[in-house]
Structure formats: C-alpha cells, structure tokens
Symmetry: D4
Subunit: 217 residues, 8 copies
C-alpha cells in the first residue's frame, strides 16, 4: 500500500469522479453519505477506511460533471493548489472526446488531442513537485469494439495519459483495460446505459483498478 | 469463493439491509443504482460483479427498515420462499434489542431473546433444506464499551445467531467483531451518528465480513 | 396517401411509442400538447394534421414504456379491440431483445424469438380482419455495427416482423433501415444516449419511415 | 434546399419561437429534447436533421416569450450579432399587436405600426450584410374572420414584414396565409385555445411554411 | 330581492361555475376563501353576504369542470336532489357545444342540441316542484361576431334554455346578452384568453346578470 | 361616479390591500386573475370593469403585507410618485395598532398615534396637488365591542384619518363603520379568523364602502 | 403527583390536543419530536419525562382536529377502549360551540348543549370503571369579555364539564380560568390569532393547568 | 426569580440553541410557533410567559447550528452587542469537542481547549459590563460512561465554563449534571439518537436546569 499514513488524497475529474459530491469540496466522512458522491471515489474511500483504518487517509473530491481538461486548467488554483494534496488523482478526457461525437455541430465544446496532451502535461508539470504521489487514470468508453470511431479516439487520449504518466513518475491506471476485461463477460448494455456512466459494478471496477495501482488490493 | 456460478443470492434483514432498496424486490443490475439500496448489499453486489463477472451471480434484497425477526416471520413466504434463493443471507435482531432501550415504555415493540432465537431457528429450519448455502450475520452495535447495557444485550443475540449457525451449517458472519476491530481506530462518533446506522466505511466493513465469510476476499 | 378520410388510426408499442402519452388513451388534439406523448406518434399526428387537414384522421396512442409483446397480448382487448381502430400500427420487440443483454441474470424479463413471433402472429391473426389497414414496424437498435450481438439479435426480430407483414398484407416499415441510413452521417452518440431512445431527429426519422409506408411523404 | 452544408441557422422571436428553449441559447442536439423548445423550431430542426443529415446544419434558438420588436432591438448584440449566424430567421410582431387588444389600458406595453416597421427595418439593415440568408416570417392570428379588428391589425404588420423582406432580399414566409389555409378545415377552437399559441399541428404548419420558404419541402 | 331569508341556494354547472370549488360540496363561508371557487358563485355569495346580511342565505356550489348536461344528469341525485336546495341555479351547455368545434374527431365528447334540450327539460321537470325558485342561465361564447359558427351554435343552445325557462317559470339569465354588451367596449382578447373562461371582470358580469335576475342589484 | 374616464387609480396599503398582488406592481387585467390580488382591490376592479366598461379605468395595486405608515413613507417615491396616479387610495394603520397588542415586548414594531398622523399627513401633503382625487380609508378591527382596547385604539387612528381627509378634501371611507353594520348580523368569528383578515364577504364590504365613496354604487 | 408509576396516559380531544400528532396513535418518545404533536400534550409529556423520569409514564395522543363530542363518540372504541388507558384526559367542546358562531348557516356542523352534555356523560359512564384516573378539561375561548356571546356559550359548556367531573370523580381542569388569569396581562391578540389556537405560551398554560390538576407542579 | 420585569434575554449557542429559529433573529411571540425554534429556548420562553406573565420578558435567540466558540466570536457584534441584551445566555462547546471525534481527519474543524477557554473568556470580558445578568451553560454529551473519551473531553470543556462563570459572576448551569441525573433512569438511546441532539424530554431537562439557575422553578 503506497499511500502513507495521515496523507490527504484529492480526486479531480469529470462526472465519473463527481457523482453528486458536495460543493465546494466533497470530503469523505466515515459516517456520512453523499459528501464524496456515489461513484468510484466513494468506493475507494470506503475500502481504504474499512481495510486501512490505522492509516487515517483523508479523501477529498473536486470532480465536476461535464468537465474537460480545459475546465480543469481554469479552476486548478482553488481546486487543487489551494487544497495542498499529498496525493492527487486525475481522470479526465471523456468529455474532450465525447463532444466530438455527440455534438459534431458545436466543435468549440470538444478538446482536440494536442490541446488535451499539452494542458494535462502542463498541469502535472506545475503540481508534481509538491506531491508525494500522483495517479493518472485514462479516460474510457464502455465499448467492446476497438474499431468504433469514438472508442478508437478515446484510446489515443488514453495513450497520451500513459506517456505523461511515465514522464512524471505517476501511478498509471488503465481504466479502459479494466473495462475491456469486464466486457468479455458483459454486453455494454448491462454496464452503462450510455456506454460512459457505469452503475455500481463499473464504478467498483474503476475503484479496484485504482486500488491495484496504489498496491492496496 | 463459495457461491456457485449462476446462483441467486437473497438478502433479508432490517434497515441496515434495506437502505432504500426498491419494492417489492430490490435487484442489483450492473448499470443501475438504487435497486438494492445504498448499503452493504450494494457493496457486495458491486464487488461480486467487478471481481467475479464470470460467475454471473444474481443479487436480490428484501430487507425492510424497522423489522424485527417477528416481521421476517410474517412475510417469509412471499419474500423468501417464493423467490426460491440458492443462497440466503439473514441479518436481523438490531431492532429486537434497540426497542428495549429506546422505547422502554412500549414493550410490545421489542422482541425478547427467547422469542428471537426460536423464531430465527424456525425460519432456518423451514428453509435450510432448499438452499445451497445459508449465511447468518449477527446484529451489532457500534459501541466500544462491552459493558454498555444495550451492547451487552446485543452480544447475547449475536451469541444466539452463532449457535443457530452451527446447527444449520450456515456461514457465520460476526459483524460485531468486525466493528470491534474498526473501533480500535475510530470513536463511534466517526462511524455512525446513532451507533447503529453506519456510513460507507461501516457498510463496507459489513460487506467485507460477508465476503470473507463466503471466501471471496 | 393510403389512410382514408375520417379513419381512426391507433398506435401501440413500447416506450418509443409511449413517450409520456396520456392514460388510459392518448389522443392527438390539434391544440393540445402532451396527449400523444412527445415521440414519433406526435410527429405523425402533427404532419397528418398540417398536410392533410381535409382527411380528418383521428390519431390515438396506447404505447406503454417497458412493454414486450407479452405485455401487448395481456392488454390487447381493452387497448386495441375495444378501441375499434380502422388502421393499427404496431412497433414492438425492443425490450424483448434488450432485456437479454442488459439483464442477463433475470431471464424471465426477456422474450425469446419463438415466443415473440408466435405472439405477434397471433395478435395480427386475431385483429387483421377488422382493420382497413395494418402497419408493422420493426424494432431497432441505433448501432452501426451489424456484428454487435444485440444489433444482430434485433435484426432477427425485425426479420420476423417482415415475414408476418407479408402474411397479413401489412404495410411494412423498416425502422432499422431508416436508422442505418442516418448512421452513415452520425455516430450513435449523437442520436441516442443509450442507442435506443432517440431525440427529435430520431423520432422524426421513424415518423418519416411511417409516412413513407402509408405513402404520405 | 437553400441552406448550405455546415451553416448555422439562428431563430429569434417571441413565445411562438421560444416554446421553453434553454437559456442563454437553445441549441438543437439530435439526442436532446428541450434545448430548442417544443415549437416550430424543434420541428424544423428535426426535419432538417432527419431529411438532410449530410448538410450538418446547426440550429439555435433565442426566442423569448412576450417579446416585441422593441425587446429584440434591446438584446440584438448578445443574442444575434455575437452568435454570428449564417442564416437568421425572425418572427416578431404578435405581442406588438396583441397588447393593443388585451391590455388597452396599458398602452406602453404595445408597439405601434410605425415603430414596429422602423425597428425591424433597422435590425435587418444592421445585420443583413453579414448573413448568407435571412428569413422573415409574418406574425399571425389564428382567426378566420379578416374583419376582426385584431386580425386586421395583424395583417397590417404582416404587410410591413413583406415590404421589408423585399428590400432585403429575404425569404418571406407568410404564416398567416398558412393558417388561413388550415382554417378552411378547422375552427380556430381546434387549433389554439387563445387564437395565438397553437398546438403541434399549428407549429408543424409554421415549420412547413418555413421549409417551403427555404425549398426544403 | 326574490330569495327569501334563510334559504339555501345551490349552483350547478361546468368550469365557469366550478372555478376550483371544494369537493364534494363547495360552501361559501364568510371567512373562507376557496370553498366556492374563484368565479361568479364567489362574487354572488360575497355580494349577497355584504348587501343582505340579514337574509342569511346559504350558498353552495357543485359545478364541475368539463361537464356537459349529460354529466349533470348522471350526478343529479347526490349533487342536487340530496342537497335539497330551496333555490337552484343551472348554467350548462358550453362544453356541449365547444367539443363540437375543438374536438371534431371525437364526436362522442359533444352533446347535440336535441339531447341537450331533452336532458335539461327532464332535470327541470324532476326538480322544479321541490324548489322555491329556479334560475336558468344560458351558456355563452365571448365572441362578438354572431356569424362565427361556434357562437351561432351557442346561441341555439341559449334559445333552448330560454324556452325551458318559460315552461318552468324559472328566472331566465341571458349571460350571452350580458357579454354582448361588454363586447361593445372590449375586444374578446381583453376578457378571456380562450373566449370562454373570463377573468374577474367577466365573472362579475355573470354575477351581476344573476343578481339582476333575482332582483338583488 | 366620480372617477373620470381613462383615469388610472392606484391602491396602497397593507395585507388587506396586498392579498397576493403581483410584484413590483399589481395591475388588473380583465382576463387575468392574480395580478391585483384576491381582496377588495380585485372586487373594485371587477365591478368597475363590469359596470363601467366605457370608463376604461386602469387599476393598480402596490399594497404590501405587514406594512405600517412608516413603510409607506419609505417606498413612496417608487411606488406612488413614479407611477403618477390620477386617483390614489390609501388604507393604512392596522399594523401600526396591531403590533401594540400582539407584540407588546417589541415596541419598535408598532407606530404610535402621533407619528402615524404626522406621516400620513405628510404623504398626503406631498402628493395631493398632483392628484385628480384622493381616497382615505380608515383602518379597522372586526370587533363588535367598542371597549376592547385594541378596537378603541383603532378608532383613534380612524379618527385621525377622518381629520386628514377633511384637510385634503379626500373621499373619506369609513371601513370600521361598514364592518360595524355587518357585525350587527354576524359574530366576528364568521367574518375573519383573526378579527383582521376577512374572507370574501368582508372584502366585498370594504369594496362597497369604497364604491359608495366614489359614488359608483 | 397522582399518576402512578408505569401508568399509561391517553389524551383525546380536538385540534388543541391534536397539534399534528402522528396517526393512528401519537406516542411520546423521549428522543422523538412530532409523535404527540406540538401542543400541550407535548409539554405535559416533556415535563413528566424530565421531572419524573422514575415514574416511566407512557403518554399517547388521539386528538383530532375539528372534532366535536359527536366525533369522539363515533371513534371511541378503537381510539379509547382498545388502547386500554390507565388514565384518560378529555378536552372537547370548542368546535361544538365555535361552529354555532362561525358557520351559522350550516347548523348541522355544531353540537347543542344538551347533546354535548349527554354524549360526554355517556362516554364517561362507559369508560370510568376501567380507569385509574380521569381528567376532564373545559373547552375555552381566549376572550377577555365574558359577555361576548361565544365566550358566554363556551362557559356554559365548561359548566357542563364541571358537573360531569363531579359525578365521575374526575380531576377537573378549568382551562378557561387559566386563560382568564393570563388575559389580565395580555390582550388576546398576543396569545392566539383566532382566539382559539394559542401559541407556545398558551399551550404551556394548558399544560400547567393539567399538571396542577394531577398535582405534578 | 432573578430576571427583572421588562428585561430582554438573549440566547446564543449551537444547534441545541438554534433548533430551527428564524433568521436573522428568532424572537418568541406568545402566539407564534417557530420563531425561537423548537428547543430549550422555546421551553424557557413558554414557561416564563405562562408562569410570569407580569414580568413581560422578551426572549430572543441567535443560536446557529454547527457553531463553535470560534464562530460565536466572528459574529459577536451583530448578533450580541448590537442587540443590547439585558441578560445573555451562552451554551457553546459541543461542536468544538465533537469535531475532534467525528472528523479526526479534518482537524481544522475542531477547537482545542486552550483556544476555547480564551475565546469564551474574551467574549465574556467584552460584554459582561453591559449586562444585568449572564448565564453560562456547559456543553454536554448524553453518555453515561464518564470514561468515554468524548464524554471525558466534554467534561474538561465544562470545567472551563465553570471557571469562567465564577470569574464573571455568571449564573452557572451544569447541563451535563442534569443529563447525568436523567441517565440514571434512561439509556442514552431513549434520549437522543446521536447522544447530542435530544428530543423534547432532553430539551425540557436543559430548560429546567436554566430555570433553576435563574431561580424560576
């Protein structure tokens, strides 16, 4: 288990991370429900609390639905720098890609690959020195067919995350790979209505990929 | 992992099991949220789905808030027998004890130990032969002081569960012991506002005790 | 235009037909909004009213969300026979197939192909003699990849509809084909969040396929 | 079909255009419902999307309930100029006239003909050079009797629209004429409760008049 | 003033009479608001209470929105006979006519003139002997043009009311005539959005016609 | 009838005047309900509209619940002066007195007689020259016993209104006298639950006193 | 203090007793709020619990808003007899009188004195033998003037309660006297908006009169 | 009884004091319910009003849920100084301690003992000279076991209150002692779900301790 006792761990991302977390900062309290939302962050916090109570890890969540990496950059100071995390986990890129496919007539809503990579790189560059640990999670699409144009594009963004991970010695969490394994037993229709927002099994899949990344499973 | 592929697993109990599950029967769908409620049944279903997708275990929940073992007996046919579970998990007794302490003036609301044991025994006797597996979970109180009168009484009910477990070759899950371990690192105030209804860490603690019981952790 | 002046036209089906129509019978009034719901039935009624005002065609809707062909059979007398339509349009089968993929653990919720074909055949057999005209519309999946297992299964159900159409001299409306044409210009993500429930463009696509079928476009 | 591929088309007007569109700008997404409201703009967007998917026309709506031409002038920069439409469609004047008849004691709420014409002319003058195409739709009253004083007044405003249309080489859409045709088969009571706000048949009538204007029907 | 002290006066009719009155029987209490609804019955009750407090007249309201004379006949025993009024006031017929014009495709919703006259005659015949006084009010349309087909039809129903009035020595209240007078100063648009349901001025107009009929103004 | 054709008439006061009127200014439209609230202002507007349609009198309402004369003074410019009424009607003082009796411990909430008289005098002084007509209505208590301390105090405030009326040649409306007459036939319990806020009969009593004052009854 | 340890004490009455208690039976739990409503029963239960914890008195409430003694008689078996109280407290009569004054036109809603006395006598006669103690509380009106007709009538009903009290050796609680004492320092307007339903001070006044009656103050 | 006639008495504190009081200042009106909330302040106000009506004591409440002494200091001027109380009652410290136990990972939310004592001392120092009387109430935990770590810590904060009380000649109210007495007859589960927020019996226990402190019981 790589996260040190008494560390504080911050999650940032889009709706997958948000899941209804409290504003301005969602914080996991053992006796409280909605504060970190109902997604993978809740699962991670619950498992860390139940399995490693002696570590006393503080978990906070600043994910925001609909965000792209461009939105992350615009709120980085209040939502990341000012919270001074020991460990930071970023999962971003789904909306950067999705808007290219669900809103083709409104190109200003999407973020092209080059801008995505540069922005994410720059955020890591700015923050990595102050962290004990950084986790980078790929965006994903719950689609079994690797030739689907949106899945293929998502994989390119995931590859960019991998590259940046290596440069910054981050823990790399391949959520797409985790879903690919799950899709060998399930049709996408049984995991997520829209192939993006999973139910509890999908969120637990993400949580377990994260926990495996920090060697807590 | 003791639950066979393609089994259906049914949970019955009180508010700890219920947690807002859908009526008349809560059923875990991988892509769905509220159906089995927000408690330990959800955690168990999510982890079984994420870690054992190839087993295809169907999870259903008929817990009902406020129930005592007397209520379970009164709805056993429609809610257990008619659903024909392969595996059945029962956690009951918290309200049987709690009403003795929070409603001392209304003794008809509580269930004394003898009636509790006999009723639970009789339900197991009636149903065990049709099951592939039975899980019996103790009731619990999130109270560190074993001399607290309500905690002491709860322990007696837990002991009854243990005895019945042995007679019926059930998987015995000692949730009180699981909470006792957690209480070595946390004051009860950080786990549950009322020392009964825990937040996500407490439910995950129950879920992990269950999973350990069925050898899935 | 094949529907005669002063005819009454009845639509039955699942959520695609329902779209929030009024209970017990949704009826299109020119000055009224929600009565026939917000889907393709509304589009058909609006276009018939605007383009053929002199025909005075009465449009009613008894679609019900979540229905399979089994549900249609169970409510056929009050919802079809008793309303004595001149023309009847049926679109059913999406849930019959979908439940096989999104709820694999609850097989009782789905309808296998044989039962589907026999039930639909029997409903047509019972009602065709009383009708001036019958329209059968295929179920569909907004999925471009014909090898997707659910799309492939849906196509088999569509083929059954085609066969029954021919036997009963029904107007056959191939909604899957209509969506296939649309998918040459759009990724599914831009038509329907869940690849089943389209927005206005998808419903207009269905409406236009229907109107072409009755030679009104 | 006169609107070029990849154009963006903007609608402005009063409640007939608004119909509950999203703020600050309603935008038609193929998979989305309420964004452009539930009126003729939705019908136009749905039909363009279903019939001309290869044109990829972006449809936006900035209609606002209760507006007169005076309100349009006051929000022209943010709501029209800044959105830089390729094609612009304006339908205004109903409230300019209606207030003269339903609020005779509050004359400041209505807009007299001279002010109406001058304002509309000036808006066209200011914007026409930047547009690929302009559509001007008459205001209307769903009243069959041309001698009704409010219908007669509305016709004068419609005549002003026609004149301005010619000067600016706009597509002229005579919605009053479209309703007059419909009124040959329907009493006004069956089209609109208040002789102004039609139901789906009336909105489709407007949409078809628009589509005929741009040669898309 | 023709209504005797300590009489009880009952109003029956459609939405014009109903106006949100309480179920099962609306009753005017001097200190209470909604009980007899917000329409002309409230105005009559308020004026009788303020101008003739010494008469102590009890006012009750059993009007029901959407009713035709057919509906009145079906609820005559519980809603009229059982309440044993001294004076009874009936205003019915608007929906009997309106449905012919707003729902031409659903002829079963309207009531033709012959059935209307016979039913109203038969209700009066059955009840007149038990009454101290009967008031018959015409249905009306807030339409200035007597050649409008719906207004012309409404006038025929009003003529039937007049004839029945004479046969049964009822107080005849010509609400259409009262609105005709008002329409010399107002366009219909300023009295009622739908030419049927007036605002406070229109309801006061009906109330004053009623009061003039009973010689209380 | 003293109010001239085409005049605009403004009402200001407390909750008796307010009665839920629209903000910022309630305005009576013949076809509209809630705009001037549900109290005596509505009754006056409805009767003026029904009985004097040719006068075309515009009625507006800026009464505000809970107001004392102190509150009126603080909002006089926007709510009276800026609206430039031809006729102005003021009814104030109930709360000035009531707070002395229902909140004896919070004396800052009430307005003593001297301050009341001076403030009301000063408002009249400031505005009378710009008016065609001024109406001053007394505050009232629906209490039959003139020795009740609150009723006695209210009478003193009413006397002050009378005096000011005479000085400014205002129409003086003695609402207390109107209620006294009503109380000869009714116990206060049948007019107003709290002896202040009457139901429809009480509001019509106020309205008739007003109408008598302007010679319209 | 006259109520014995471990007794159960039941309150029945009208809205003064009800005050929003839970259905079907309101029961005071020390940790619970709304169960016995927010009125004098709550105050009694709270003071008995705080001042006599060792007595363990169970307090239940079956008061129902709007009830007269006639309503009590009609629900006596389920609401009193079946609950088998040790001590019973009855406060009824306010509505029996009030309806005579607030609804003079609907005499069937009130209960005349003779019927009131006989019914109350008969309920006491039927139940007294099974009770350890009976408390009879007078109805009251928060009106200082004993000549007010409704106050005078209420006093007659209170006198009847006194007489019945003596016959059945009940504890007699004179709530009117308690309010009379309070009215020497307060105008009714500061105790209850409608001279019937008091706020917290009035309810505490009733509670203290009750506690004095059972010698607990 | 130590509080002088016509004094105004102000309560400040946390959720125990707040209990839903009105903003910005809760004020007890005899005829009003929610204004001072539903807790001990309401009980004190009701008993003072019912037992000492001639003293005319004004009771106000500025308690705010979740507050620590740090929050009190930050709002002292508007909420205490500006209201110029004659008597002031402070109960603070529960959250200062509780956050140490329920939120151990967020230490910034709690207030350590030294800061607590100094801040409370300084508030008293600043305000005592302007007061006729000061009441200091201890914070409490409804926990019978004095060795419970949170109860033990709460006792230390209570000891600090006692010390400050003596220095400033305040009335010292030992709420913990009052609860300890109650706990000899009740398990905490019957007084408060979370061992902090009591029901009516617990609030009455606090109110009686307060009243005993001011010699009013």
């Amino acid at each position: 288990m790589r996260i040190q006792a008494n560390s504080n761990l911050l999650f940032i991302g889009d709706s997958i991370t948000d899941c209804g977390r409290v504003r301005p900062v969602g914080e996991a309290n053992p006796w409280n429900w909605g504060e970190v939302g109902s997604g993978y962050v809740r699962d991670v916090a619950a498992i860390l609390g139940a399995a490693y109570p002696e570590r006393a890890i503080r978990v906070r969540n600043v994910g925001s639905s609909g965000n792209t990496v461009r939105d992350l950059a615009s709120r980085w100071k209040p939502d990341v720098t000012d919270l001074a995390p020991d460990w930071l986990s970023i999962m971003i890129g789904i909306n950067d890609v999705w808007r290219q496919f669900d809103s083709p007539l409104a190109p200003e809503r999407a973020v092209p690959l080059a801008e995505y990579s540069e922005t994410l790189w720059s955020l890591c560059h700015r923050t990595r020195p102050k962290l004990k640990g950084l986790v980078l999670m790929t965006p994903f699409m719950i689609e079994a067919n690797p030739d689907d144009p949106m899945r293929a594009r998502m994989d390119e963004y995931g590859a960019a995350v991998k590259e940046i991970s290596e440069e910054f010695e981050a823990v790399f969490v391949d959520t797409q790979a985790a879903f690919n394994a799950l899709l060998q037993h399930h049709h996408p229709a049984s995991i997520a209505w829209d192939r993006i927002h999973p139910g509890p099994v999908g969120h637990m899949t993400i949580a377990r990929a994260f926990l495996r990344g920090i060697e807590a499973l």
